[in-house]
């Protein structure tokens, strides 16, 4: 056994107790015609060799680049205290707190997570966690259909495309429909949700709308007129879903302030490393009247038989193990440890620290915007932004690739993120956080100026110089 305790003698004793000669007899029940042929996996490795191979593979990833990549996943400072707590075996080797008497640790940490996110969003109810921002947004949209008994949702194109695509998959399964609300094409509001189009889409009496989903900031980094979106949604009898970035909520108006009924979002920025996509944290929160519609676990405070304060999973009649085919969702395993990470992160920074993360990121983004404009890449849109924005660069995907060879991850070409939108074809979406240094900004601006000034012919010779 690689990790198990059984010696040959242990096995003999167990076999003898069962009165059988070989463990094979325990598998006799499998019909001979379908017994497995031997597997052809690579031979088992020693811990020494395993670690060497893992180091090699990890070493093939490039995480040493000057990165301006965001689009929903951000590089923030991770206080080491988070991982120390996540590595407590009592937390990470436990499962769902079915036995509350010996699960108060998990239960209270999740209750505290719910409370912290409730403060940030202004919402009454926060689910114990969903898989990620994309699935939380899809679940939020499904909630609006259950709550209103309507079958159509409107989703702004300012919502992250991966969340829109996930919503599309979930909606196809549920036989529900959605329409996308376009973004304003030009002028001062360019890149934000087109309110006139939203009004038109809401006006069709034959196809009543269950919910309107908009993001703050939106996927282009721009601040949306959320109060106006919410007002239009409510006037049509629809619910309003805000897709939010949690760190921004330290400085931006919370969803409750602009009338959102449901808030969803990607919790990765709250103390969770990027890890090429997960595990992350799906944030899902709502107002009290929707509490019976929210999917996923909820932890409540109560008392024990001696009157001591204690915590328990509650309102479980919404869940799959009780309601089966009538459950609000099929979610069972969630992202509890990621919610713990988020709670420790928020508590470790405190309100001032969290505001500093948001505001310092915004300040660095201002410096980045000025430096890139100076290098010949002005912003693509005029509207207000927090810490992420798009710049205009002719032939952006090619420039992006050449900058990569100079050791710079120049954000993401919008042609890759939104391939269907020609107005974004010349865009690079870039972000800054408190981890972005003045040197990185200078390197990016210098290299970009060089690329834009010198043209592609020169870069072959220069390529590789900036690579580290």
């Amino acid at each position: 056994m690689v990790y198990g305790p059984h010696t040959p003698d242990d096995r003999s004793r167990m076999l003898a107790a069962l009165g059988i000669g070989s463990v094979d007899e325990l598998f006799d029940v499998i019909p001979a015609s379908i017994r497995a042929r031997p597997m052809a996996l690579p031979a088992g490795m020693t811990e020494l060799d395993l670690m060497a191979r893992l180091r090699t593979l990890a070493g093939h990833n490039r995480v040493d680049l000057a990165s301006f990549l965001g689009a929903g996943v951000y590089r923030h400072h991770l206080p080491p205290v988070i991982d120390q707590i996540l590595l407590r075996g009592e937390f990470y080797t436990a499962y769902t707190p079915y036995q509350p008497e010996i699960s108060q640790g998990t239960l209270q940490t999740i209750y505290e997570y719910q409370s912290l996110l409730a403060e940030l969003t202004g919402m009454d109810v926060v689910s114990a966690s969903h898989y990620d921002g994309a699935t939380a947004t899809a679940e939020a949209a499904l909630m609006t259909c259950r709550a209103t008994r309507r079958e159509r949702v409107l989703v702004s194109r300012g919502v992250h495309p991966q969340a829109r695509q996930t919503l599309e998959t979930y909606f196809a399964g549920a036989n529900l429909t959605f329409d996308e609300v376009p973004l304003v094409a030009d002028g001062p509001a360019a890149g934000t949700t087109d309110l006139a189009a939203l009004r038109r889409l809401l006006a069709d009496p034959a196809r009543p709308v269950a919910g309107v989903v908009a993001a703050q900031p939106n996927v282009l980094g721009l601040l949306e007129p959320m109060d106006e979106v919410g007002r239009l949604a409510h006037a049509a009898g629809a619910l309003f879903v805000a897709a939010v970035e949690p760190i921004s909520l330290a400085v931006l108006a919370p969803p409750a302030a602009y009338g959102a009924d449901i808030a969803a979002g990607e919790g990765q920025p709250l103390g969770i490393p990027p890890q090429y996509g997960g595990p992350y944290l799906g944030i899902l929160a709502c107002r009290d009247p929707l509490v019976r519609q929210i999917p996923g676990r909820l932890i409540g405070m109560t008392s024990d038989a001696d009157g001591r304060r204690a915590y328990v999973m509650t309102m479980r009649a919404r869940e799959q193990d009780i309601r089966r085919e009538k459950a609000a969702s099929n979610i069972c395993t969630n992202q509890a440890l990621c919610a713990l990470a988020a709670a420790v992160y928020v508590a470790a920074l405190g309100p001032g620290g969290l505001r500093d993360v948001a505001a310092t990121s915004a300040a660095r983004a201002s410096e980045l915007a000025a430096a890139l404009a100076d290098a010949g890449a002005p912003r693509l849109h005029a509207g207000a932004y927090l810490n992420e924005f798009a710049v205009r660069v002719a032939d952006a995907p090619a420039v992006h690739r050449r900058l990569l060879h100079r050791g710079i991850l120049a954000g993401i070409p919008l042609a890759q993120l939104e391939p269907g939108d020609p107005s974004l074809a010349d865009g690079l979406l870039v972000c800054a956080t408190e981890c972005t240094t003045a040197e990185e900004i200078e390197l990016f601006a210098w290299a970009l100026r060089d690329e834009l000034g010198a043209g592609p012919g020169m870069t072959g010779a220069a390529g590789g110089e900036g690579t580290r």
Binding site: L57, A58, G59, Q104, T106, G300
Partner: protein, 501 residues
């Protein structure tokens, strides 16, 4: 347990005091940082988050952790959850900066190490499941079910077969199965169990027809029994033009012994947090990769990981596989979890994995035998079990009034996490016991003895059992008030903590 015993903790909010939060983690923001942002978009007042110094924060969480029970604490025979030991090298691996710091939208050429690992893991899982291809995207078992059933739906639709609106599910199935069918737009048809615990073939035959899209089978079943009629079942499903889905929650019983794809299953999901030792995290995160046979590959979610002829790896581009069901989440998967699963599989190899299941099944049968011999609890399905088995406290309840719930709570006093109780719903006063392959023999013996001792207590000193636990950090909870008057978030007017004194 510390000398004074575990301590209940005030909330973070009660530990808070103005100016107490740790300072200087990051540079303070310039005063004008937000001046360019319109006032209407900004908060009017800061969120009321707690301010706690780092030492108090650490004590808060360390003390909370001691109120918890994990696999690292002791025996955790929670049936159908496979609470096996979580190897520490896997935690190390997932935290390597090359894996942990990689942005999910990083260009393929900067992500070759992770892409290679994912590509290998897809193939390893396909080999283990006897499947032709695997997607690693689903974030959990239930998410894998949804993905798999959406693939089934897309398969039928692509063939113009639009009448298949039903999914057949045995009544012993996990609740996620029928909930998944509903989410994917199907009606659930419940199939009763036969007296031997298997699917009732006659009821199944009667329900199967042109409206059947798929059957979802958990094998071994949640009764801990290998589905004896699996060959006939799959033949009937295919003859009816439907597909066979295998819920792989119980795969820890069958590594190297049974491969669902070889036996004719068309789709399955893996629970890497069960079979492949990735930690359960207090409820998650896990991962639920889905394996399919060749005809279903076009419908798998996008993007997949591809290997180029030159030996490099890349992600599928948008629209590259038009029949795909689309995206089921952000990015390619819960990679940090998948790294751990890869490490577990590669540490074992084919023989090692087979030994895992052999030992898991042997340990479960040994424990079943011990309990059966003890006589206090019924073992309703005699004969060999898979990696877990059902015991029932029905006769104990009749004789003493002590329910399985009480037995479970008393196990806490004896130093064990209780098994899964009252599931499956088809067995009265059920306990579903899964020891896994990583529990020592003396520990199995002691657990069996503890259960038998509790049965004796139920006769002799029933109050000891009825009011258990007595030694846990808290006693039984008022769940009714929690549900009737939900308190789901801290508000400043909440009553002060009443410590244990």
């Amino acid at each position: 347990m510390s000398v004074t015993g575990p301590k209940l903790q005030p909330t973070l909010f009660e530990l808070s005091g103005p100016g107490r939060a740790a300072g200087r983690r990051i540079p303070a923001a310039p005063a004008d940082a937000l001046e360019r942002i319109p006032a209407a978009a900004l908060r009017e007042s800061p969120p009321a988050l707690p301010e706690v110094d780092e030492a108090s924060l650490v004590r808060h969480y360390v003390n909370l952790s001691q109120l918890n029970w994990g696999v690292d604490t002791g025996f955790y025979p929670l049936g159908s959850c496979t609470m096996k030991y979580n190897p520490k090298v896997n935690e190390w691996a997932a935290r390597l900066p090359g894996f942990a710091s990689l942005h999910p939208l990083a260009p393929d050429e900067t992500a070759q190490g992770t892409l290679e690992l994912l590509w290998e893991l897809e193939r390893d899982l396909a080999e283990i499941g006897g499947m032709d291809a695997v997607t690693l995207q689903p974030a959990a078992g239930a998410h894998g079910e949804l993905t798999g059933i959406l693939v089934v739906r897309a398969y039928h639709r692509a063939r113009g077969d639009l009448e298949r609106t039903e999914v057949l599910i045995p009544d012993s199935a996990h609740g996620t199965n029928p909930a998944t069918a509903s989410m994917a737009g199907f009606l659930t048809v419940n199939i009763p169990s036969a007296p031997d615990g298997g699917v009732d073939l006659e009821a199944f035959r009667a329900a199967l027809g042109p409206r059947t899209a798929a059957i979802m089978i958990t094998n071994p079943s949640t009764l801990g029994l290998f589905e004896r009629r699996i060959v006939e079942l799959i033949e009937m499903v295919h003859a009816a033009g439907a597909l066979a889905y295998m819920d792989g929650a119980n795969l820890n019983a069958m590594l190297g012994r049974f491969r669902p794809g070889e036996a004719g299953f068309d789709v399955m999901h893996f629970n890497v947090h069960k079979t492949f030792s990735t930690p359960h995290g207090g409820g998650g995160p896990g991962a639920g990769p889905v394996g399919v046979r060749a005809p279903l590959i076009p419908f798998l979610p996008a993007p997949r990981v591809l290997r180029e002829p030159a030996g490099t790896f890349r992600l599928e581009r948008p629209g590259e596989r038009p029949a795909s069901i689309g995206r089921v989440r952000g990015h390619v998967g819960s990679v940090g979890i998948l790294v751990r699963a890869w490490a577990y599989i590669r540490a074992h190899g084919s023989d090692g994995l087979r030994e895992v299941s052999d030992d898991a099944v042997l340990a479960a049968n040994y424990l079943r035998g011990r309990l059966e011999a003890g006589g206090a609890f019924e073992v309703p399905y005699p004969g060999p079990c898979a990696h877990e088995f059902i015991a029932s406290g029905a006769s104990l309840k009749r004789a003493t009034g002590v329910r399985t719930l009480d037995v479970a709570k008393r196990l806490i006093d004896k130093g064990y996490h209780p098994p899964t109780i009252y599931f499956p719903h088809t067995v009265d006063e059920a306990m579903l016991i899964e020891p896994t392959e990583t529990e020592r023999l003396d520990s199995l013996d002691a657990f069996a003895e503890a259960l038998l001792e509790i049965a004796r207590e139920a006769h002799d000193t029933p109050d000891l059992v009825l009011f258990a636990p007595h030694s846990a950090p808290v006693r039984r909870l008022d769940e009714a008030t929690a549900a009737r008057q939900p308190n789901l978030r801290w508000r400043r007017q909440a009553p002060p903590a009443q410590g244990p004194g």
